[in-house]
């Protein structure tokens, strides 16, 4: 029974991926891609990766889909021009050959994977009690591989700086995106008033439950970012100018706290990002609480884009 379900899921995934590649209209391709992301969530559940499924649904399906739909809307008039540039049949055949060769090589690697599979699960299970958290993914993210999470937060800040650097000179320091206007009595304004309180509670719950159950700060921060984006899209608030001090402090506060705790660990426990005995759980909570606002700000601002409006002084 499960095999039939998995086989059907895999076939649907392939069909949607092919649709994303060959669809004529870019909007149809993006719609197919969003459905593909949501089906991928089901695939993750079948592979026993519930935390990854939550992240894929929130970021892979939700935020990436919203980003691409916005881009499709702005680039609508370039599609016909680009269609003229389609490569000739020879290029297409060569591309199919290259793609086929890569596929065959990877499939051979998959079929000759070592058995029994090497795994770090016993090591994680042996050491998880010292971290004080019950969810092994959270333990890996914030205790065993905390360096990766720190570097990831810094990479996100860099990506945001990269997006901001694309502002035209006159708009530097100004507000990103366009000012959305919606009927203040309309349904978009209604949902932007009703949903954010619920969304904030759900986001905080997923963050807090991530200690012992599937969840965590990435998924929680994505929901908070989505609520802020909803309020901005309904015109109830405007995107902040990127020169605001509170925004910039909020963006660096998370990584700075993380680095500070890492340096404190170097002093008290012998290695960067080592936790002293018995202090692992409180330190993990402090890091997560500091990183969550930073992540929510970064994810929302990555979606809004580069500054485009001059700030009125």
């Amino acid at each position: 029974m499960m095999e039939a379900l998995n086989a059907g899921l895999a076939l649907l995934l392939l069909a949607l991926a092919v649709w994303t590649i060959v669809a004529r209209d870019a909007f149809a391709a993006v719609a197919g891609f969003i459905a593909y992301g949501l089906l991928l969530t089901l695939a993750w559940v079948q592979l026993s990766g519930v935390d990854v499924a939550l992240t894929e649904a929130a970021i892979g399906g939700g935020l990436t889909g919203a980003l691409l739909i916005g881009a499709v809307g702005r680039l609508r008039d370039t599609e016909a021009t680009a269609r003229v540039e389609r490569p000739k049949a020879l290029t297409r055949a060569l591309a199919a050959l290259v793609a086929g060769a890569v596929t065959v090589a990877l499939a051979l690697c998959v079929l000759t994977l070592p058995d029994p599979a090497p795994t770090l699960a016993p090591d994680v299970a042996a050491n998880i009690a010292a971290t004080g958290v019950g969810n092994p993914i959270t333990a890996v993210l914030l205790a065993f591989r905390a360096m990766d999470t720190l570097l990831e937060a810094i990479v996100l800040v860099f990506a945001l700086i990269g997006v901001w650097s694309l502002a035209p000179d006159r708009a530097w320091g100004g507000r990103p995106g366009v000012r959305h206007v919606a009927d203040p009595n309309g349904i978009l304004a209604y949902i932007a008033r009703v949903l954010p309180p619920i969304g904030i509670i759900v986001g905080m719950y997923i963050f807090w439950a991530g200690a012992d159950h599937p969840g965590g700060k990435f998924q929680g921060a994505t929901i908070l970012a989505a609520m802020w984006l909803l309020v901005m899209m309904a015109g109830l608030t405007d995107a902040p100018p990127i020169s605001r001090a509170w925004l910039r402090i909020g963006l660096v506060a998370g990584p700075l706290v993380f680095i500070a705790i890492g340096l404190a660990g170097a002093v008290t426990a012998g290695a960067f990002l080592a936790y002293p005995d018995g202090y692992a759980k409180p330190l993990i909570i402090v890091i997560e609480l500091a990183l969550m606002p930073t992540l929510a700000l970064i994810l929302a601002l990555l979606l809004v884009g580069a500054p485009q409006r001059t700030i009125q002084r």
Binding site: I187, I191, V194
Partner: protein, 97 residues
């Protein structure tokens, strides 16, 4: 007692699946956007509601059951808002549709 609950689950989930199927057929076969929205909201409201109803006897605790119902209510809310916005945009783009 558990036999009756299992029968309820099977009947409710099959009925919910039927409404999902009907909604999908409507999406594929109806002529324009507004009628397709009408078909989809049936899948959202009735289909998901019946599936949730069918799963309720099997959850472990009252809190989990409340979470399932809350999920259904949130899907109802977001589906209704999205349908209204799409319908309004369709009406503005083509007043004769």
């Amino acid at each position: 007692m558990s036999v009756a609950l299992n029968v309820l689950t099977v009947v409710a989930v099959v009925a919910g699946a039927f409404f999902f199927l009907a909604g999908t057929v409507g999406l594929l076969r109806f002529p324009d956007t507004l009628t397709r929205l009408h078909a989809l909201t049936k899948a959202d409201n009735l289909g998901l509601g019946l599936v949730v109803l069918g799963l309720l006897p099997h959850v472990g605790s009252v809190l989990a059951g409340i979470k399932l119902v809350a999920i259904w209510l949130l899907v109802l809310l977001s589906g209704a808002v999205a349908s209204q916005l799409i319908a309004r945009a369709t009406r503005q783009r083509d007043p004769n549709a």
